[in-house]
């Protein structure tokens, strides 16, 4: 089984609780105006990874708390992500999913399979008019954090890194998480 991905990041602390392996899937049917990752909307082939290989990479990465699925729209590849989440959960890692759908929209069997393996789901369209800087893990105020297992609770939302910069040896900066436009603009402009 294959996943079409935009990119991965082997270690991040700004995409859910703890140190996480982040998977950005390629393809999103929602195309929310103002989305941070419009390059992940198209459903064309980008980086194909076998579920088995990616699971092996994740499980070989030391010190992880869990994996985070984002994108793109993870539930557009729910069946393959559920197949990836299963060995990850079995190994004791947690599963965190960002989706543009509300939970009530996720009714297909593949959707349910992924939801059953998820510890936390942040759900809802990104609405530019409701853009917020005050809610952890959310870009707009309408989005909801659902704790689907007993592993985490609202107390995990406090004091987490919001933004993460990766400074490479050539001086280039990569950013992930939830930066304010001002921070992003000012920091990368320098």
């Amino acid at each position: 089984m294959l996943l079409n991905l935009a990119r991965t990041l082997a270690r991040s602390a700004a995409n859910g609780p703890g140190e996480r392996f982040v998977v950005w899937v390629q393809g999103c049917p929602l195309a929310c105006p103002g989305c941070w990752n419009p390059d992940t909307w198209a459903f064309g082939r980008r980086e194909l990874h076998s579920v088995q290989d990616l699971a092996a990479i994740i499980l070989a990465t030391p010190g992880l708390e869990g994996v985070t699925f984002t994108g793109g729209e993870p539930f557009a590849q729910a069946r393959a992500l559920a197949a990836l989440a299963a060995p990850v959960r079995a190994a004791g890692l947690s599963v965190f999913v960002f989706t543009g759908y509300d939970l009530s929209e996720l009714t297909l069997p593949a959707h349910r399979a992924l939801l059953e393996l998820a510890d936390v789901v942040v759900a809802g369209r990104y609405r530019q008019a409701e853009r917020t800087l005050d809610l952890p893990w959310r870009g707009s105020g309408n989005q909801r954090v659902h704790f689907l297992s007993n592993r985490y609770g609202p107390e995990q939302l406090a004091g987490l890194p919001e933004v993460e910069f990766h400074l490479s040896t050539d001086g280039s900066l990569a950013v992930t998480g939830f930066p304010t436009a001002a921070l992003l603009g000012r920091t990368t402009a320098g």
Binding site: A14, A158, E162, V163, L167, T169, D170, G177, T180, R186
Partner: protein
């Protein structure tokens, strides 16, 4: 009057040529270096038609010798050695000179390459440090606390601001 034997040698670097001459016994005290070429002189003090930028005067070459010169040209220094001095400073000597020149030239290229690598590495380190400092400064100015860790050679900067 002895005829000059002229040889073209692919020697383009003055410093390397002077070092090579020094290796063969013609150190700085015995060699003239001119910004513009000067006339060579014969054993009797006569002015020769040849000119050169680097000159070993005849009394430093040998009894009854003529001046030896090196003229800078677009294709490198041209050696000017008279027929009379050929037995002593002929093709064998020029070959030795060329070997010494090549050794100095190679050493210089390696030195320059090492300096360039060092310069590029310093520039890379300066850029990374400037970027790192910029993230720290601007994040702090906006009220973020910065946690810095390293992932291999990549620096990771985590920005934490609010407590929910």
């Amino acid at each position: 009057m002895s005829a000059y034997m002229t040889l073209l040698t692919p020697m383009t670097d003055q410093a390397c040529l002077l070092d090579a001459l020094a290796d063969l016994g013609f150190g700085a005290a015995l060699v003239e270096v001119h910004a513009t070429p000067v006339r060579l002189e014969g054993y009797g003090g006569d002015q020769r038609t040849q000119t050169a930028h680097i000159v070993i005067r005849r009394h430093n070459v040998g009894v009854a010798s003529n001046d030896v010169g090196f003229l800078a040209t677009a294709t490198g220094y041209q050696a000017l050695v008279s027929d009379f001095d050929h037995p002593k400073l002929g093709s064998g000597w020029l070959a030795q000179l060329n070997q010494r020149y090549s050794a100095h030239w190679s050493a210089k290229q390696e030195r320059l390459a090492a300096e360039e690598r060092r310069r590029q590495e310093q520039e890379r380190q300066r850029l990374v440090e400037a970027q790192r400092q910029a993230v720290h400064d601007r994040a702090k100015a906006m009220g973020y606390r910065v946690q810095e860790t390293r992932e291999g050679e990549t620096v990771r900067l985590l920005l934490v601001k609010r407590t929910y």
